[in-house]
Symmetry: C2
Subunit: 359 residues, 2 copies
DNA sequence: TTGAAAGCGGTACCAG
DNA sequence: CTGGTACCGCTTTCAA
């Protein structure tokens, strides 16, 4: 009994955890045998196996995960950070897109035997350097994201939900922005819109950049005036301000396409505050994965980015890379879904003042 | 250069990671010295320290986290599971309460130097046995939750957002249900309600149990009839069904108190489908942390459980226990907040048909 | 000021 | 069928 902890002090001395050797000694066996017995490996007699297990159970033995990890060489842990919200850390869970992306990522990871570790949006290196991460998911990375650089430099494969240049270990999933944005704009145009206002955000996020670019190209082709309202950051207040700016301007748009995922009700409110009716005075389409958008009055036409799909596909790519050890970058596009609802349909019929240009 | 990996094969052979010893050899120093140099420990000449660091940088050395963990004896990792949604895993992120609880927990953990690991709601032991968890957060645990038992048996401290019996290592934060529920009921009564319907859920979650108990006691004291609608689980559909049942009954309530956190709009819809006006025909109060509740028409009176507060306090308790090694259970109550809004105020004045009983 | 060596707690060879 | 032993990669005495 040389190692028995003597409980003498007031404060319950940190009870030394039961280790494998303790079980072995108690059972009169060797570490090896007990390990094999508990893991179901090796060829052991049933009697010994049972005895080892029983002893372990009796002592309340729990294998030390860190030790196993070191031995195994991997932790089956995947880091997860939402980069877009660098300034307002953590608030992202309240965004349906990120809420769904997060839970779907966790779910997909678990399905492959990995667990997700939540990292702060502003994550500096020392926040995760001590974590045994096998890979990382970067949601909505910045342009030339330093955190992504860090991971890659550490040879930790990364998947992001925005297209990135193909560097070793950098995988991505994305929506086809061009097609998606144009799809919405075409739809609004078909509904009679000729002056479509775009509400985006000033942000280093790739999403708004791509959206803006596609929008401007589309407008140029049509000869439509580009009407852009840029929020300094993707928040409800800033979005509202951007909408206000656009709607108060002398050349008021006849349709609005909101790139910022904001509360459907809040957007409707903002518009109505200008005395405009939707869809009679103004057509509306929003990028949103909020189920609420289908329940407002009128229900809002949305472009769904399908975060669950993105997460599932992304995790697939990541796990493949991880388990094959192949660092050649992979990527995949997932389809968006345009949910046409009341806010982009005028009175059930076409009210277009001219035929939509084709081509 | 005896160990230099020769790149010859087509497939980039899994490049052996650079280890401390590799850096040491390259720098012509010992492991010890390099380790000290990188960690800023020990007494080394500036020249050596710099040289070691430079070499490490040049080789792209990253310390192996698993090895450090084993050495350190802890991983600074905290497991997190939402237990209530056992049947519908992961959907919880779309609930404002859990979204806020989750992000606030992650944030609080990080602030203490820990990271949160997302566990599935149905988490069996083998899902986390391999994870080097120092502690765990159990959101909305079941009664006699087996997962909690597992953690405690493994001597892993647990904090939950529901009061639990004081077993070693089991910490908790909770709201004072009794006071909170009674506060809402009193408020509704003061607004003239005499037949308050309660919508709860059939669930092993402690929350609904406590709510129901408090409600029944309150009704008994007042001599008011208990009108309870129980959803089989806390979903929008089930909630709506429960509301329907209550409102369609011959003794229709004149006020509704919804314990299930559901979409504010959906609840309002459900009520209006019965041709009832809020608050004229029916007073309404909901348990909710959805900011949207303040923006509906009319805005909804809510009981906020203050998940961020709960998470912060809970994490504090947990970290304290962790770092002091003290397993004596601790617990704390946090205050709820009753946000009185339009749905529980009739026309700005009291319309009570009788004086509210006091006592 | 620097380095050798002993662990941290398991797992997996290979010899008996 | 079972047990000694060498590792996994890092930190930390302690001796030189």
């Amino acid at each position: 009994m040389t190692t028995s902890p003597r409980g003498g002090g007031k404060r319950p001395a940190p009870v030394p955890r039961v280790r494998l050797v303790d079980v072995a000694r108690e059972a009169g066996l060797s570490k090896t045998t007990v390990s094999a017995a508990l893991n179901g490996t090796g060829r052991l007699s049933d009697a010994v196996r049972l005895h080892a297990r029983e002893t372990a159970r009796r002592l309340g033995y729990r294998p030390n995960a860190s030790a196993r990890l070191l031995r195994a060489g991997h932790a089956r842990l995947i880091g997860y950070a939402v980069r877009e919200y660098v300034d307002t850390p953590w608030s992202y869970m309240e965004s349906p897109y990120f809420a769904q992306l997060t839970s779907a990522s966790a779910q997909a990871a678990l399905a492959h035997g990995y667990a997700l570790v939540l990292l702060p949006t502003h994550s500096a290196r020392d926040e995760w350097a001590d974590l045994p991460l096998d890979a990382a998911v970067m949601a909505d990375p910045l342009v030339g994201d330093p955190l992504v650089e860090d991971f890659l430099a550490a040879r930790i494969p990364v998947v992001s939900d925005r297209r990135v240049e193909g560097r070793p270990g950098a995988h991505w999933v994305d929506v086809d922005h061009e097609t998606a944005i144009r799809g919405v704009l075409d739809h609004l145009e078909a509904g009679g819109a000729r002056r479509i206002g775009l509400v985006g955000a000033h942000s280093t996020s790739l999403f708004y950049e791509a959206g803006l670019t596609a929008y401007q190209a589309w407008c140029r082709e049509r000869g439509f005036p580009p009407l852009v309202g840029l929020a300094p950051h993707p928040s409800t207040q800033a979005t509202r301000a951007a909408i206000d700016l656009l709607l108060a301007s002398p050349d008021r748009p006849d349709a609005l396409f909101i790139l910022i995922e904001d509360s459907p009700l809040s957007i409707l409110d903002a518009i109505r505050a200008h005395g405009l009716r939707v869809p009679e005075d103004l057509l509306l389409a929003c990028v949103s994965d909020d189920p609420m958008a289908g329940r407002t009055d009128p229900p809002i036409t949305t472009l769904s980015l399908r975060p669950s799909e993105i997460a599932t596909v992304g995790m697939e790519l990541l796990i493949n890379a991880l388990e094959s050890g192949d660092r050649t970058p992979t990527g995949r596009l997932v389809e968006t879904r345009l949910e046409v609802r009341g806010t982009s349909r005028r009175g059930g019929g076409a009210e277009a003042s001219g035929p939509p240009r084709t081509g």
